[in-house]
């Protein structure tokens, strides 16, 4: 395993990865980020918007793991584990907030909340 890993690491992405290269992973990551972003901007439903942020989050995580693997440096992966943990906690918080906001206005639309309008 270690040997193959070394070999793989030194010759781009190895066959065991199915012929995939770093670019593929980064493409997926960018796609997730873009989908999340578009979703966040286009939708008004708070839960959907929240899910979109999660999507962007994970897109960034994939990019981190891909680079980590590419450089054979595991810091990135370690980091992502922490990110996931925090994301879980944050998700709980965010959903709680959404529930509270919903109770206030009986609606999930983000347009209900525009008090910062100048």
């Amino acid at each position: 395993m270690i040997d193959t890993a070394l070999i793989v690491g030194q010759s781009g992405f190895p066959d065991p990865m199915g012929g995939l290269t770093l670019s593929h992973y980064l493409f997926v990551s960018a796609a997730m980020m873009a989908i999340g972003l578009i979703g966040f901007m286009s939708r008004r439903n708070l839960i959907i918007m929240f899910l979109c942020t999660e999507l962007m989050f994970q897109g960034a995580g994939i990019a981190l793991i891909a680079f980590s693997r590419y450089h054979l440096n595991y810091d990135g992966q370690t980091f992502v584990i922490f990110v996931l943990t925090i994301a879980a906690a944050e998700a709980a918080m965010a959903l709680a907030l959404v529930v509270l906001l919903f109770r206030r206005r009986e609606s999930l639309s983000s347009e209900e909340w525009s008090e910062l309008k100048g």
């Binding site: 972003l37 966040f40 901007m41 286009s42 008004r44 918007m49 983000s110 347009e111 909340w113 525009s114 008090e115 910062l116 309008k117 100048g118």
Partner: protein
């Protein structure tokens, strides 16, 4: 009164300690008894207590009694100090050290001033009449102001007490800074009291005018004090006079050759003329008659306005140090011109209180002229007698005003002798008028005579044109007698006709008039019907005070006969002070035939100190002083056989006495001349304003004034001086202020301030639409930001 009586008892127990004060001839600032400092501080304490009463809006006459008690205490202490005074020394008491700075070791780098009081002949004399008159006038005011009992009453008496405090500080100061404090203090109190009826625009304008005109003069006093400090390195009188006597400045240079020797006196003159309403500054004093009459009597006739005379008398050594006597010539001539000028205006006025105001200006001119002719005794004596008779005159006018609802127009009052209850007022007025017009053997006669005679005695080479000034003053004396008796003959005698003024105020406890009175506006509805109007006669307080002052102004005559050797009691007091001009080289032989019979008049503390500098003095003025034929044989073992003439006088030691009056004793000649002038003028007034008069107006005089119409109208309108000042000073100032106002409005207010406020608003207006409040909007801009940063990183940094 009770409180006052108690105070006297309490104070007399202090008399025992008064005995040992100020012993030792010519001592340099004997430390006096501690209670001397109570003289100013008791009135100050009263002012504070009256202030407390004002806070509680006490509706009683308590403030008046407090004031009377405080002033009486002061007066008693002054009398005690006077009795304990040795006749020629200086009593000095220091309350506390006030300023003490030291910032180097050259002249003018160490500044020291005590809150210290100093009694010599001059300040004792001044304090005697200041505290005495203020007690009497406070008592008078207790009745006069009784329609204002309440907060206004407290306000009046608070300012009154504060005035007495300030005046005491001014007179008793032992340095120029404390004098300045008192000077400004009396100015403030004068302002407060002139503007007492602050709902009347005229009173407010008069108060402002007095204050502003005085400030202009005070600048002179302030600069004079500052230059005194830079020149001599001290502003305390004792060392200052010692240096002046030794003719040296702080650096040891000869004083008589420096510019300060005439510069400082001229600056001080500015202050003196402002406070004493001389020359260009007189305009404020007649207007100050808007204040309540007791204030006019005390502040604007008897005491405060004489502060200028006091200043010149006090600083006499400095005035005399100038070899050319420039400042004294200015003093003499401005006094003369002012005396004449104010008298001409007074002749044409109809408001009796205004006439008294102008006559005060005129008489102050006499006092200054007296000082200018080196007759400080005459000048000071006139201050003293004038204080009494002018206060009497004002208080009599005030009694008329009080009784006739503010009526002061002599065209609407006549024959008050016939009105019940006005006998004492009329007699007081008569005595006052006799004094003012210099009727023979009144106090005013002797004091004015001293000044007039001295004008002729003083050689023209010493004071430029002094005999011409003497003639002017003599003519003015005639005018004075005329306008004074014009008032008396029209208002107080003749057919009894009167018309009330427009300030009807019902006295609840009086019961004489039953008009409802609205305290709020002070001007009741005017109704000219005599039917409902009964003049209310003065009651005991006013009558008592008038009687006391009348007797006082009669007794003042006697002062002339005490100590004849030294020109009366006043002469003795003046000689024991810095106002002493010493034995004049041209001094005449006086009527008791003694050659230079005046013992060394100059043995005051200052000169004694100065003798220690004799060596110095000899360098500068010794030559003249030595062959001064009036060498003083003072049997002192101080070793000074000759008078140390001030530099200014030494320069004129060989001047001859004025010869205009022949070889007669000028004082004797002047008795006859001025007596005749006074009597003739009274006769003229009698002819025009009394003989055959059956109505309020005087037809004979009216015909004359119609005949000289432009002049008489011009004089009635005060020679249009106020209008002239308005044209050359007030209008240009107004125009300049308008210009600056526009600049301020356009450039500063709109240009800078308003635009500075508008800028953020404009920017915000432009940026605000971007804040749409939607989450997506913010996200978009956030992402936009990230993109921009990325672009910068990618495109520019790589």
């Amino acid at each position: 009164m009770m409180t006052g009586a108690e105070m006297i008892t309490a104070a007399s127990s202090l008399a025992a300690s008064a005995e040992p004060l100020a012993h030792g001839a010519g001592g340099h600032g004997e430390a006096g008894p501690w209670w001397v400092m109570l003289i100013p501080f008791v009135p100050f304490l009263c002012a504070a207590m009256v202030g407390v009463l004002a806070v509680f809006a006490i509706r009683s006459k308590l403030p008046a009694w407090l004031t009377v008690a405080g002033c009486l205490t002061s007066f008693t202490l002054v009398v005690l100090a006077f009795m304990g005074w040795d006749g020629h020394g200086v009593i000095s008491v220091t309350a506390f050290r006030w300023f003490d700075f030291d910032w180097g070791d050259t002249v003018g780098t160490s500044f020291m001033a005590d809150f210290g009081f100093r009694f010599d002949g001059l300040s004792l004399l001044w304090m005697l009449f200041v505290s005495g008159l203020s007690s009497a006038i406070a008592l008078y005011a207790s009745e006069y102001m009784d329609h204002d009992v309440g907060v206004d009453y407290c306000r009046f008496f608070g300012a009154f007490c504060l005035f007495v405090f300030s005046m005491s500080c001014l007179v008793m100061a032992d340095n120029m800074l404390l004098l300045f404090l008192g000077w400004e203090g009396v100015g403030l109190c004068s302002y407060l009291l002139i503007g007492y009826f602050y709902r009347r625009p005229a009173a407010v304008a008069a108060a402002k005018k007095a204050f502003i005109v005085n400030r202009i003069g005070d600048l002179g006093l302030l600069l004079g004090t500052l230059f005194t400090f830079t020149t001599f390195g001290t502003i305390e009188f004792e060392p200052l006079f010692a240096m002046i006597q030794a003719n040296e400045t702080g650096t040891g240079a000869a004083l008589s050759e420096s510019w300060q020797v005439w510069g400082i006196p001229l600056l001080l003159c500015g202050g003196a003329f402002g406070k004493s309403a001389q020359l260009f500054f007189y305009v404020w004093l007649p207007d100050a008659m808007e204040g309540p009459t007791p204030v006019s009597a005390l502040i604007h006739a008897a005491t405060m306005v004489t502060a200028g005379v006091y200043l010149v008398a006090r600083m006499m050594p400095l005035f005399l140090a100038d070899p050319d006597l420039i400042a004294l010539t200015v003093v003499a001539w401005s006094g003369t011109i002012t005396a004449l000028w104010a008298a001409t205006i007074a002749m044409a006025q109809y408001d009796i209180k205004r006439i008294m105001g102008y006559s005060t200006v005129s008489q102050l001119g006499y006092m200054f002229a007296g000082l200018g002719f080196l007759a400080s005794t005459g000048g000071v004596f006139h201050v003293f007698t004038h204080a009494f008779f002018k206060a009497t005159l004002f208080l009599a006018c005030g009694a008329v005003m009080h009784g006739f609802a503010g009526q002061l127009d002599m065209r609407k009052l006549s024959g008050l002798w016939g009105v019940p209850g006005f006998k004492i007022v009329t007699i007081a007025m008569l005595i006052g008028c006799l004094n003012l017009s210099g009727f023979p053997f009144t106090a005013g006669f002797f004091s004015k005579d001293m000044i007039l005679a001295e004008a002729f005695v003083t050689p023209d080479s010493v004071i430029w044109g002094s005999s011409a000034a003497g003639w002017v003053l003599l003519f003015t004396a005639g005018l004075t007698a005329y306008y004074t008796f014009r008032v008396f003959f029209r208002v107080f005698v003749g057919p009894t006709i009167y018309e009330p003024g427009d300030e009807l105020h019902g006295d609840d406890d009086h019961g004489h008039d039953d008009h409802a009175h609205d305290h709020g506006n002070g001007h009741g509805d005017a109704h000219g019907s005599h039917g409902g109007f009964h003049p209310h006669a003065p009651r005991w307080a006013i009558n008592t005070v008038l009687t006391v002052l009348t007797i006082g102004s009669l007794l003042a005559t006697g002062l002339y006969f005490i100590n004849r050797d030294e020109h009366g009691w006043t002469g003795k007091m003046v000689h024991a002070s810095s106002a002493n001009v010493g034995e004049l080289p041209w001094a005449h032989h006086d009527d008791h035939g003694e050659d230079h019979g005046l013992a060394p008049v100059g043995v005051n503390a200052i000169q004694t100190v100065a003798f220690q500098h004799d060596d110095h003095a000899d360098d500068h003025s010794g030559d003249h002083a030595h062959d001064d034929e009036h060498g003083h044989a003072h049997g002192d073992d101080h070793g000074h056989g000759h008078a140390a003439l001030p530099a200014g006088l030494a320069a004129h030691a060989d001047a001859e006495a004025g010869k205009i009056l022949g070889d007669q004793d000028p004082h004797k000649v002047m008795y006859y001349i001025s007596g005749v002038v006074g009597l003739v003028s009274i006769g003229i007034a009698f002819f025009f304003h009394f003989m055959g008069r059956t109505e309020c107006s005087a037809p004979k005089m009216d015909a004359i004034s119609r005949a000289i119409r432009p002049v008489s109208t011009w004089a009635e309108r005060k020679w249009l001086v106020d209008e002239f000042y308005g044209f050359i000073i007030v209008t240009p100032l107004r125009m300049i202020s308008h210009i600056f106002h526009w600049i301020d409005k356009g450039l500063v207010d709109i240009g800078l301030v308003d635009n500075a406020g508008r800028l953020p608003r404009v920017v915000a207006g432009a940026v605000r639409p971007t804040q749409n409040g939607l989450l997506q909007g913010y996200a978009t801009r956030m992402i936009g930001g990230v993109v921009v940063v990325l672009l910068i990183v990618v495109l520019i940094l790589y």
